[in-house]
Symmetry: D3
Subunit: 73 residues, 6 copies
């Protein structure tokens, strides 16, 4: 009866991609630990990039910087 | 000083129903463990049905299938 | 298919008290939101008093202070 | 490689305030435990006041009562 | 920069099995969403069977009942 | 009424260091968002290095490799 929570930034994951994650994690738990899929929960939380920090900066800022670097001559 | 997190799918729970859950859980913790209601937090997270998986499928898909079965001749 | 996490300080909750919490929360979710008990998970986390802070102090320190106050003449 | 989750009520925290929290927590973990900022995650969850309970009541209700008390003659 | 939390009951998962889960989930997030493994965290929480409830009962009780049923004539 | 959860690997954080984190985070929330310390909870979870994965490997393995590299001629 595993419970899995996946937190990702909200950046356009599609319904199909999220379903793939659920299937993949559920299969993995069955293969590795023989867990019953019927009682395996996978919950995905999509977090705004303003609300996710890494190295003390928001992902919003990191993405902007990466984009500027990419278009710099 | 308990902290309780309740995750449910977002399927129309009303403000009054959510308040009932909060009162109920807070009372339960006082009755069973003598926890002080003044420092009992209950946080409810409503998760989109596309983001909740069970048995490797989204709740969205499960609900659609149940509905089709219900209307089948 | 709700998932409920209850965090309390580790201060001697018995197996029976924890089972009471699980039954109580599961019943509550069925009564208020018609959630199926068969797919209701309740996970209890018992946190060391050194690891729980309130108002910037550990519960360990709060408990010691309360005990001293109780025995003060 | 710490992971920090901050839950607050959704009551207008600005992008700049949230960035301040991220920087502050990341610095704190480096100062106190020598944790590497590059692998420190801080995730902020803003919870609707209808979904946060304290003492068995929603924060929505607590805020309304506080406001009425403030304007009472 | 995903963060994944896997909660399972503490029933003897080995170090190698846990490492397999970490690799599997990290690979899945890279394949499905192109997430960078270097900033993918997977945290496994092993929960005592006394602290995990399903259908209002502890997993401890469920396991005992299943074992009795298995040895019944 | 914020709730903060700090997950770190269990690698010897002292009681005093943990108390420093609690004070620091509580102060920060008061300074940045004017949150009341009396209802600010900080919960620290110390996770075994076998149970924390980054880049698909356990922190146990990462630490061993770092140590070998450090003593290599």
């Amino acid at each position: 009866m595993p419970y899995v929570q996946i937190q990702i930034t909200r950046e356009g994951a599609t319904r199909e991609q999220k379903a793939q994650l659920m299937r993949g994690v559920t299969d993995l738990l069955e293969q590795v630990l023989d867990k019953n899929p019927a009682t395996t929960f996978v919950v995905i939380e999509e977090v705004e990039t303003d609300n996710w920090g890494i190295a003390g900066e928001t992902v919003t800022v990191l993405r902007e910087r990466a984009q500027k670097a990419a278009v710099a001559p």
